[in-house]
């Protein structure tokens, strides 16, 4: 095709920051239990986050990346997916992972430096998070290719941050999804920051959604703090992927209300006023207002929910702290399907580490 083309990026928002409606509600919102489930999962996510940060601050867990303010994206991702779909998440997707079966105790284990936290305690085919930024995206393209080759009608949902869009992996995955018509949905949590680097220093493009245009796939921008818009956009994209094998890139606009992780101090590089302004847009307050207005939520329900979540989380913390340590040999037992005989010596040396040296093991 030659010549100049016109493109535009659509932005979707139903609820303004006060929880007022901008647009007529989509049909699925007549499903009240679903609306309540979105809300309840967001509240659980917020409280889980507080617990995790508290565990880290008291030396009972390691570095933790909070999802404060970005709960709607991950919760709606988790709820919009079918059980048999595959989630290829990034590290601010604990809510989606939990909706799909991960326990809070596992999350604490993972960030507490225990590999068992990556087991996801379910039979699901979801992938664990990738710490090296954006590397999950090409894996997700591989999962989507496998689903397609196997003739399944399942789809892949994968996610990343705004900073991740600067890596080649992002464009590589997007490009392939277009060329091969992959059943995949890419969700960008655009929380405006990549540690200390603001989005303006990652790209000159006014939207991240428009990167889809270069890949020849659907791209849409959504208010990531408006759960109705997020759920709508993700479930439609999943539907398209399932029915027509067409990929979609979703840019969900949100804001990182926390430090990057518990190891970071955002006040070094981020304006306090900017942070304050974004608190006005956070998703939980907004959605609560909306539910109030719809007559679907009251104080009593809120109280009950809070105490239920606290109870669940307290139990999870207890379970996490009481978990028996893995045996020392666990550090080598999962390396291969079968322990190579050359490592048998090292495996036994691990058990009495500070006794003799691990010099044995290489000799047969």
């Amino acid at each position: 095709m030659r010549g100049r083309q016109q493109f535009s990026i659509h932005f979707l928002q139903y609820l303004d920051p006060e929880g007022n409606l901008d647009l007529p509600l989509p049909e699925w919102t007549s499903d009240e239990p679903l609306l309540l489930s979105i809300y309840e999962n967001m509240v659980l996510a917020r409280l889980l986050d507080q617990k995790a940060v508290a565990l880290q601050r008291t030396g009972q867990m390691g570095t933790y990346p909070s999802i404060l303010g970005q709960e709607a994206i991950s919760v709606c991702t988790g709820l919009a997916m079918a059980k048999n779909d595959v989630l290829v998440p990034y590290y601010r997707d604990a809510p989606a992972q939990m909706i799909r079966g991960m326990s809070a105790a596992e999350l604490f284990m993972y960030w507490g430096g225990d590999e068992r936290g990556g087991n996801l305690n379910t039979t699901s085919r979801d992938l664990p998070i990738c710490v090296p930024i954006a590397t999950q995206l090409t894996q997700a393209a591989g999962v989507a290719t496998a689903l397609k080759i196997k003739g399944e009608d399942s789809v892949v949902v994968t996610s990343c941050g705004d900073g991740a869009t600067s890596k080649g992996d992002f464009m590589e995955a997007l490009n392939l999804a277009g060329v091969w018509d992959l059943p995949i949905v890419f969700v960008i949590n655009n929380n405006r920051w990549a540690i200390s680097v603001p989005l303006a220093q990652q790209t000159r493009a006014p939207t991240l959604a428009q990167k889809a245009i270069a890949a020849g796939i659907e791209g849409i921008q959504v208010d990531g703090n408006d759960p109705i818009a997020v759920y709508e956009v993700i479930s439609q994209a999943i539907e398209r992927a399932r029915e027509h094998k067409t990929p979609t890139l979703i840019e969900a606009l949100s804001y990182r209300l926390s430090d990057h992780t518990t190891a970071d101090d955002a006040s070094r590089y981020r304006d306090a006023d900017e942070l304050k302004a974004h608190w006005q847009e956070e998703p939980i307050h907004r959605f609560q207002q909306f539910l109030h207005q719809q007559g679907l939520w009251d104080r009593e329900q809120e109280k009950a929910l809070q105490s239920h979540c606290q109870q669940t989380l307290d139990q999870a913390v207890e379970q996490y702290l009481a978990a028996e340590e893995e045996p020392a040999t666990a550090i080598i037992d999962y390396l291969h399907a079968f322990l190579p005989y050359s490592l048998e010596g090292q495996r036994s040396a691990i058990q009495h580490k500070d006794a003799p040296v691990n010099t044995e093991g290489e000799s047969r």
Partner: protein, 360 residues
């Protein structure tokens, strides 16, 4: 016989950090020499400040290095001092950082790039291995890559996955890359200056476990320490203990303990793990006849194996006992809960020494 890195230098210790390379080109303004009590990461910061002031072709780049001063604060205040044109926050892309540095270096700049953690260097390796290491050779010296890539390495800080590995052997196995690992604030300062002034690419690995472990008086005089040279930290006749990076702390502790028992350990900090200064190690083993090598990286394919092989090639008749290695296990670096189990300990180093000494 590959002995071209033989050294005529006398052994260096932290206090008498000779011999010094004299700073060569004079570009920037006057620099005041001053002593500062500082930890390793501060020594790195001091060296960066010194060299950026002295040589305006030095440019710092990487993720979060400018406004934030680096996630470990190694590049603190550089942007404030030298401006945003020379201290660059890059987009989040390691392959970019590698290629960008090469491009800059071919045009006469001296990029000092930071890769945030060693686990994130892999996307940059294509550029470093396929190009930075080869540019001089490929152009028969017409173009070169005088760049430095600083990368925090090693475990021991209870970090998440991919934040604790020791993969220096991967880099050392690339001819054309220099791989340097300091083990103290003084050596960090002097070796980083040398790395920046070196006309070829240097991967500068910073053991993050000792970033803030021990303060030392560092003379901010712009004096570089020699690359490609081992540092003999303790002299002794009974056994040679070879190590580098963070483990030098445990080795020093062991050497001191041994001395109390009447065993004189000669402790060698390899510092530049590639190209290897085997001459210093051979000289030492010619004297002691015994050798233990300690490193944090997995044992198989580690640099300890290379040292042991060269000892077998060149020092067989000097050796009174087998050379032993104390190293990480041949497994994936465990997450925080079990990282101490993985990391070689002082006790393991001691018992290896005992074992070698008791070999009949």
């Amino acid at each position: 016989m590959n002995m071209s890195f033989s050294t005529s230098h006398s052994p260096n210790t932290d206090c008498a950090a000779e011999p010094h390379e004299s700073p060569s080109p004079e570009i920037g303004g006057e620099i005041q020499a001053d002593d500062k009590e500082c930890v390793l990461v501060e020594a790195i910061n001091m060296a960066l400040h010194y060299e950026m002031a002295r040589d305006d072709s030095v440019v710092v780049l990487g993720e979060d290095v400018a406004t934030n001063g680096g996630v470990f604060r190694a590049t603190l205040d550089l942007k404030q001092t030298f401006g945003a044109a020379r201290v660059l926050d890059t987009p989040l892309a390691e392959s970019l950082i590698g290629g960008l540095s090469i491009g800059m270096a071919t045009q006469g700049l001296k990029p000092v790039a930071e890769i945030q953690f060693m686990g994130f260097m892999f996307a940059a390796l294509e550029q470093l291995t396929c190009h930075a290491a080869r540019m001089r050779n490929r152009t028969r010296g017409r173009l070169a890559c005088p760049l430095v890539v600083r990368i925090p390495c090693g475990g021991g800080i209870h970090a998440p996955e991919h934040h604790s590995e020791s993969t220096e052997a991967l880099l050392a196995h690339t001819p054309g890359l220099r791989v340097v690992i300091p083990s103290s604030p003084i050596r960090a300062y002097g070796l980083l200056l040398a790395a920046i002034r070196d006309p070829d690419p240097v991967i500068f690995l910073e053991p993050k476990r000792i970033y803030r472990a021990q303060a030392q008086r560092v003379c901010n005089d712009g004096q570089a320490l020699p690359l490609d040279t081992c540092f003999t930290l303790r002299e002794g006749e009974d056994i040679t203990l070879v190590s580098w990076g963070a483990l030098i702390s445990e080795c020093t502790q062991v050497a001191d303990q041994m001395l109390e028992q009447g065993i004189a350990v000669e402790l060698i900090d390899v510092a530049t793990v590639s190209p290897l200064d085997i001459a210093t190690i051979l000289q030492s083993v010619a004297k002691t006849g015994r050798c233990v090598i300690a490193h944090e990286a997995p044992k198989t394919g580690g640099i300890g194996g290379e040292i042991a092989a060269q000892l077998a090639e060149h020092a067989l008749l000097d050796l009174k006992a087998p050379v032993l290695r104390v190293a990480g296990y041949d497994t994936i670096m465990p997450y925080a809960k079990k990282e101490a189990l993985y990391l070689p300990s002082a006790a393991q180093i001691s018992s290896a020494i005992q074992q070698v000494l008791s070999f009949a």
